[in-house]
Each structure stands twice: as C-alpha cells, then as structure tokens.
Amino acid sequence: MRWLDDLRRRKAMDPLTAFFYLVPAAVIIVVFRMVPIASAFLVSFFDVKMGRLRGFIGLAHYTKLLTDPTFWSSLGTTAYYVVGVVPLSLFLALLVAVLLNQRIRALGFYRTVYFLPVVTSLVAVSVVWKWIFHPRLGLLNYVIQLLGGRPLHWLEEPRGILEMMASAAGWGWWPDWLAGPSLALIAVIIVSVWRGIGYNIVIFLAGLQNIPDQFYEAARIDGATSRQMFWRITWPLLSPTTFYVLLSTTITSFQVFTQIYLMTGPPIGGPMGTTKVIVYYLFERGFDAGGNMGYASAVALVLFTIILTLTLLQRRGVERRVYY
C-alpha cells in the first residue's frame, strides 16, 4: 500500500512546502503593504522632512489637525462630493439597469456603451471633460446656449450653487454657510458619475437578473401594476445589491483625487480651494514642496478611520443579507 502512504504523506501538514509557495507573495505584501500600513500610524507621530524622520513629536500633528481650517474644509468638501456622487450615481444606474432589464433588443450594445468610460483612464477622462467645461469654448456651454441658457464658468466657478441659485432668483444676500458646494465641485461630480455609472449599472443588472421571474408572473396574475411590482418585489429583493453599490461607491468617492487634481488643481485645489478634497489635501501636504509627510499621515489616518467604518458596515450588511 505504498500509494496510500504516499497519499497520506502528501495530504498531511507540510508547513515547509507551503512556506515556499507563500514566500514570494508574502514578502511583497509584508514589506510593501503591511509595513507601510503599520508605519502610517508611526509616521503620523513624527516630524518628517524630505522623506526622513526628524523626531518624535507625539500627538502634535493631531492637535494641529483639529484646529486646521483647511483640513476641516477639505473634509466638508469631500462630504459634499460624496453626497453629490453617491445618490446621483445610484439613482441613474438603477434607472438604466431597470430599463435594460425590460427584455430589450441589443442589450449588449447598451451595456458596452455605458461601461466604456470605466475602461478609460481617469486622466484622459479628466482632460477631455476639462475641455468640455471650458468657459468660453466648451461644448457644454454651447449646448446650454443652444437650449437658451446662460453660459457658466464651471470648473472656474468658486461660488456655491445655492448662492448662485439665490442670486439668479434675485436675492441680494445669502448666508455664506449655506452657499453649498461650488459649481466647480458640481462639475467634478458630474464627471465622476459619468465615469463610474457603467460599473454600477452592471452590478445592478446582475442583481435584477437574479430575481426569479415567478415573482413577477405571480404579481401580474394578481393584477399588480408595474409600480407596485417595483416597490414590492424588485426593490426589497435588490436590497443586498443596492447596499453593496451604495457602500462601494461611497468608499471610492471618499478617495477621489485624480479628477480633482487634473481638472481643478494645482496650484490651489480648485477656484479658491473649493474643490480641495481630503486626498488632494493629503497629497499637497505630503508631496508638494515644503510638505510634511508626518502631517499628511495624520490626514491619511482620518481618511482611513472613515473608510474602515464604512467597510465594516459593508461586511456586517452583507452578512445580514439586507433582505426585508
């Protein structure tokens, strides 16, 4: 029974062989992922100049962060951005997915078109949209004028949209704190929704196709309207998908950088700094001339805390299956 012994031997614990299989990946992951993540905490307690640790300064970066108005405004701008992108992207993606799920002809064509921007690099997308948003020569202002509207400054407009609406409505005065996100940020939000919607559509479509047809057939026999079918069948059964799309879009939105960097900054992160989101601020403080990487790490850890909370929420939600 040599083969049986052989089999037993091969199936037994064999840490040494496993070690050799794991080593290549593990070395990379430990050195270039785990150590950096662990030292992100550490670095945030140090004074760092030009990539060199200069001295331990304890919580100084964090106490400075608390009173740093630019940090708080970058958090606020990020919040505006997330609150702008997430509902808009979810709503439009769900709408298109529901339309695509109506047994339409050439489904593949529509899916290919809507997904195309996802494959396109964000750099190219940003360069193209910056040109579309051009205040004098841009395509968007041209279309707006064709439709009888007034051209806007888009990426160069620091004024908040609520303030702009108020002044368009003829109110001379509007409180600063209620100015809302700048039109420049709205422009970035439009681009981000355009770029990412195809991804959300594909996920929603997969979720919709997983709902068994029998439910709809039964509902139709009972005389349900299509609105009733959506709210009583589709929406509740789609909730795990919706929840996933909601959180994954939120998590990516918190990390927005490329669009902001290429369409509105540098040097200052948008018109009057109104598109300076948290990762842009991190980049500016960490890697621009005279930067302080320790301080940037403290900013990074705040971002990490936010994203970790969201991720844990996502894990819990997925475990519970968000069905009603």
Partner: protein, 335 residues
Amino acid sequence: MGATATIRGASFYRAQRAGSRVALYAGLWIGVIVMVVPFFWMVATSLKSPIEILEFPPTWIPTGQFAKTASGAWEEVYVASRDRDAGTVAVRSAAGGPARVLPASDVRSSVRLRFSNYAAAWRQAPFARYYLNTVFIVLCTLAGQLVTSALAAYAFARMRFPGRDVIFLLFLSMMMVPEPVYIVPSYIILAKLGWINTYQAMIVPWLAYIFNIFMLRQHFKTIPDDLYDAAIIDGCSRFAFLWRVVLPLSKAVLAAVVIFTVVSTWNSFLWPLVMTNTPDVRPLQVGLARFAQEQGTNHELMMAAAVFSIAPLVVAYFFAQKQIIQSLATSGIKG
C-alpha cells in the same frame, strides 16, 4: 359584448405598451448620447486646426476652408474676415503669405481631418518613452502577479499548515486599506531603498496583489479533492498538479486576473505620480497629465494625446467587452 371588450382591452394595452417601449428606448438613447458625446468630442477636437478650436459656436465635424487658386486647384486657407455685403472673403494661405480677398464663391468649406495633430502631440512630449514605460511596467507587474498569486492561492486552497486561515484573513484585511493611506510611508520606504524615480518603485510593490490571491483561491477550492488524490496516486507532484491540472482548469479566472491587472496598472495614476519625477521612467498616465498641464491652450494636441493614451484599452475592450466588463465588475475596481 364580453368578447369586444376583451379585444378593445388588448389593443389598448398593446398601444400603452408600445408607448412605454418608445419611452424606454428614448431614455436609453439619451443615456447613450451622454456617454458617447465626450468621446466623439475628444476625437473631433483632436482632428481640428488650432484656429478651428477657437471657433464659437464650435463645429461638430472638423472642417477646413479651401480657396480656388489661379490654376483652378483648391488650396487650404484660413479665413481672416468675411464681408457679407460685398460677398467677399479675406483669406490667408495655410502655408503662409499675405492675405488676399476672394469672392465668396471661390471659398468653400469641407471636412478636413488633421491626423497630423497626432504626430505633433507625439513629438511634443516623449510619448514613445511613456508608452514603453507603461508597457514594460504592465508586463512585469502582470507576470509577477500571476506567479505570486497562483502559488500563494494554491497554498491557501490546497495545503495544510499552522496559521493558514489567520494569515489569509490578515491578508484580506489589508485589502480594506485604501492606497492614499499607505502612500506616504511607502514613499519613505522606497526613498530609503533609493528607488524613487525607478521602475522598481512602480513594479515591485505591486508584484503581489491580495485580491488576485483571493480570487484564485476561491476558484482553486472548487476543484474537487478526488482529482487531487487521483493525481497524487498517479505520482503527480504538488507543483505538477498546480501546473497541469489546476491552472488549465482556471482559465476563466486567470483571464479575469489578467484583465484586472492590466487595466488597473495601465490606468494607475496617484502612485506613479508620487514615485516619479522625470520623464525617463514616467508612465503614460502621468505623462499625459503633465502634457495637459503644460500645453495650456493646445486643446487639439491634448485630445490627440488623450486618444492615443486610451486607444489600446478601448480597442481591447471592443474585442472582449463581455469578459472585460465581467472581470472588472467582480473585482470591484473603479478607477
């Protein structure tokens, strides 16, 4: 009575359904236009002359002005001014020279696609270098990731060793940490290694990717134990089983890993932006970003550069869109 009512009802519903079908396709097509117009605009702009760029209202199709020469041939010109009352047009030859005034009937416009913009953009920045850099980085990263991920996934899926599940969970938990969080300490580490502004800085840290290990492991686990036992009994070694049985059975997942790695490496931006500072190792995306920042007003060149920087992936996408959509959707990357 009953019968007529039924017939009327059916046709009524049919009409209503037809109406909602029209609305359905109208909605989808509005979306299609919104998705496609920026791409169209990019290509159209990339084929215009610097003068046509400044025209407002803009032209949808790149157009050139041509004037009749003395010999009767048509020569490309720029229109300096038009006098509608006199019916004349002042033009300047595209090749240079003084302005001349011609009757409007001797000047006509027609489609003019300036492919020379592509050559001009390509020459104005070291795009050939950027391209080679990106291709090199993508290929190295891809090869490395395939090897490390397959080996690690095989160990996690098929072997028994102490701490296996703990290590796997630890790896998975790293996946939750977003890039901006560890980019500063990564920079410090790479600076200590003297790797800033080198290929290594953009390749080595990405030679193993946790999500790929995870995907492969999930698939390797579905390969039945019996197959393994049978192969072992036949004298197959562990590695031979991976190479001859597991990998050939995992072509679909491997294709997904390849697509995901190529697309995300090709498009990655923040990392190479931070880790490079000269054109020699700079990848295409960072090169394009710099180019766009330096060009200022040459929008036609920027659009040409944007076109050739997305072209390889877009062409690949049209050939394998189903697989690409699927693998990017399961991977959860968006940028």
